[in-house]
Symmetry: D3
Subunit: 241 residues, 6 copies
């Protein structure tokens, strides 16, 4: 793994991560997470009612949902404001569904009680890996919000989850792709895991050419290396809240 | 694997597949694919121009895109007509993006020449696995359409792709889930492969509880068993067109 | 009437009609109706509540409504998917209102009880006369669904309705226009009748030149010839359900 | 025909019609037409280009299109503003398509030259028959605008058209229904004719019970009585412009 | 102030105002107001319920809201129909919010009781100052409707409001701008006042160059001159209702 | 002015302002402006083409436009994401039009050359005065971007603008209202000025009761006190860029 990367990192090296807790004044928990040049504001807000479909189907407990957005000035070439164009694009929809699914794995929905947790993930500055940074950030925001809202005995938060991207560039597996790497990747994969090392989501996509199962395994190995460090970061912050 | 399934199949057994080629009169190639109780109409139509963004960016060659839909009467409880509610739901958007990405792996976009291929996948009757049936069907429709439109030397179609779902139900890995199984699955995975055995997309989602890497590997093994049979089916039909 | 038609039919000859009952697994009644090259899937689904406006106005009984759609690959040149473009076109709206009105004539809405019947008419393959095939199919699907849901004494279904197109081409009145005839027609008319021979809807449109009342009467005469045969077809199937 | 009507008219009697030419300052021709309590503002505006589809298909000549609207305060109970609810309702769409089709019969589209004529029909006050008043008004506005824009030799306007409603109430055919009659009608029909007495559109709808062909003929007879008077009114005004 | 204006008026001279009360048959009060070439139909309609947000927040009393529209043929070059394009433009939204806010100042919302008053302002013909004409008209319509609906003791109407535009053209302050003046104005201001001479809204916008506070004061002086005459007009009509 | 304010400020005292230049990596100029508890991200991005209407009308030069948004977690009770609800609310539309108009006063549009400047103002955290903070921030971002893009001789930036809110609470005029003050204000006014002391926009709204011209003048006096300090802050930063 002596290949040189665009930003000088080793192939199995994460970008620098910083997390700024309680960045906002209103939500129960919020944070600004920076993974290299990618900055995402995440917030966990409780609404004391459940979605209509839960009411209709009499599902007990609560719900966790995510909304993802990208500020127009977050990208190299300014991207269109979705509120102005009148709908969320396919990429946005796909990402927020992934984040919502992943975070519902982190809590016991029934223990949440009758409420909806909105996890807002807004990308302020984008340099690749925005959905992974969103999951990692939203997981910590949700954990913190639950810690504040529930007693230890009734805390519905089960386990931290986190996500990282991996990919193959010029035939070499690499961890935590930045935007330029992401664009050149032959294979692009996002791995969501629990702190105890189980898989929550695996999404691997051949961008240039199909890949073998051996490659799949190498990529997940690489992701596990990064995720251990990310969980350590989350854990450290969660402990002192 | 002596567990009994809802419909009496073995755990590694596909549902019955039938493919009715050229089901429609207008598109260059079309088919009705039935995978058990799931019926999907797929069609490949050529439009002799490329999307605006390709023109702007002067990308050479053509494009392949997919649109997916579900007829309101296709589901157990009638589902809402998206054309009437004024937008495609998140699930629809996610699925059609997956199908489009997968099928673009099957062709050499540059060799397509200046055109857009629309792959329409419309679910007539739904019993689980509609996105996989759509990919399998669209792959064959696209292969057939290319065979008819291009000479052998200029045929941009590279390789058949196909998809199958696998999942874990009551702790047991199973192949090709029907709707009732899909709803009870702890893990739900869709695997898209090429005929030569490489991965195009891997999408695994923990629905009830996170899963280990060992489980991931068992599931992909199971998918490979099913996909070999599906490719045989596709191949047989493609040869005689 | 020795004029030769595009497809060799006599001027007062219907296209071949086939009806495939219970084509779908979920709705209470469904069918695939083929009128020459036009194929329409129709389904009757019951929803155990009434529209909001009926609740507000305390209208007793139930409601019958229709939704019409055309698959993108159903037409010669692929047509746009309405779900993707975000709204139903004017033609779609006009047609589904016509079908809904016509079918409400076929039932005693008060005897329906508190429910809404959705009649979904989806055109799989289009070769002219799709709204007429939809009405004929939806009428039979609704009759069959009522027969299954209600006792004979309480059956709210009053009478079969059916529809056929007629038109004037090169000055000659013709029955049951196919697409190419429809496009060349000087006058285009859709007649919806009851089995007992009364009119439910008459919609005649001059496309090229206005027409006399004598012409109007010739066209309705022609329609009656076709409708008798269509009612025989419907009746035959309905008897054995 | 000694039946008494809600407003004391005879069964074959029109409501009072007044037409106020050039009611607006900007369009080439405009008018306020009042048919009893129904008031419609119609305007004919020329746009010096053709719709995109005409350009694409290289259809020679111009186009005539209609947009219909109802002011919120025009109805007994205030109706919703379509601009605020974000789309035109089905009834609006159906009506404006009817008006557009009818008026295209009145002109030689090719002689129009490269332009689009917008016929705006806005209902200020509604008491039944708004689509008929719109057609009658738009026909005169279009005739006047053509007279002003083209030389006599090049005038593309072919013939005046006009429309009137007829219906059956308590078994009695009646001409030119007001709102209260319209709501109680068993059959509701709109007839669009040319000044020379030919049919442009016939739209008859059974609202309560299907109707016989004899009834259809009685209704058209009645419409012809009314239309003669309406054409006289239009003609009188058109002569002096 | 010897500058000559486009239409020969003095700089401090209003255009001719006429008000045609009860122009429509259905709403509780309506009128057609003409200010020079600008004609606006305004209507006050009561709906016997309050908006959902008032219910949720348990705000006592009622609500007053405004909807503003411009007919397509009202402008020099035909403007797009907002109902057809699927949304209200920014200008429309801004104007109807201003009118709603201004008119809520005219009534005691709590004394209104549980109801919503819709003030519809539809511009039939536009020659500048449409928002001011709308406010002046809606104020009188609302006053008249309240006088008819409530006893003198319970009348929630507090005070007439009215609006006028002022602006600076070629350095000269002018009252009540017509369209051509409005387009050339360096500063454009709309002043909403109460009959007793207090300010309800002040909206001044530099269109060409910023303006001094001295100019601001001159403009408001000018507006007061015009508003006194407008209030006299309103008062005269209101007295005799 | 010995009245005590919610946060202990004097009536003529601004909240603390901090400006963090070049907060984002992609746009030509960007900043995070904090006015007390209100935080707004503003960015100036150049697009090398003009809007379609400028092209059509052959207006020389460029354009400046603004888009304003509020993150869902920015407010006390989470507000709805406009991208998800499918349209920008009336308040958003009104605000972004105000900002756009104000900033176009700051530049010579013709000297901009053929381009569009997008000023994105996204509220991260809201505590009143978001539109004023947006204008102040966008003005500086635009000045900085112009300084970087153009030579001093060709710089189209004319003059800094800034905005501040003033209002009357319990009868007392106060400068720079926070959210709680804003909600209780009887009069609410936003003043946009140029650095040289001229007015760009004056928007005063009576929220509880109409106000006199004397009050209007007191409020503008107060605004001028605050704006001088704000211009000093902008100037200081602009000098060192």
């Amino acid at each position: 793994m002596s290949v040189s990367r665009i930003d000088g990192r080793a192939c199995d090296q994460l970008r620098n991560i910083t997390i700024n807790m309680d960045y906002l004044s209103h939500p129960l928990a919020s944070l600004l997470i920076c993974c290299g040049g990618t900055k995402v504001l995440t917030a966990a807000s409780f609404d004391e009612k459940v979605p209509q479909w839960m009411k209709n189907q009499k599902v007990p407990g609560g719900w966790v949902t995510c909304e993802y957005g990208m500020l127009p000035a977050a990208t190299g070439e300014r991207c269109k404001r979705e509120a102005a164009s009148g709908k969320q694009g396919g990429r946005t929809v796909e990402i927020q569904r992934l984040i919502g699914r992943s975070l519902r794995m982190a809590v016991d929905l029934e223990k949440l009680g009758e409420c909806t947790v909105y996890l807002d993930c807004d990308v302020i500055d984008a340099d690749g890996g925005t959905r992974c940074a969103s999951i990692t950030g939203a997981s910590l925001a949700l954990a913190a919000a639950c810690k504040r809202r529930y007693s230890a005995a009734e805390n519905p938060f089960k386990e931290l989850v986190a996500a990282v991207s991996v990919g193959i560039i010029d035939g070499v597996p690499m961890l935590d792709l930045c935007y330029d790497e992401d664009h050149r990747a032959e294979v692009d994969m996002n791995i969501v895991m629990t702190e105890s090392g189980n898989l929550v989501e695996v999404q691997g996509t051949a961008e240039g050419a199909p890949f073998s199962r051996a490659r799949l395994n190498e990529l997940i190995d690489l992701a596990e290396i990064g995720l251990k460090q990310i969980f350590a970061k989350q854990r450290e912050i969660l402990e002192i809240i």
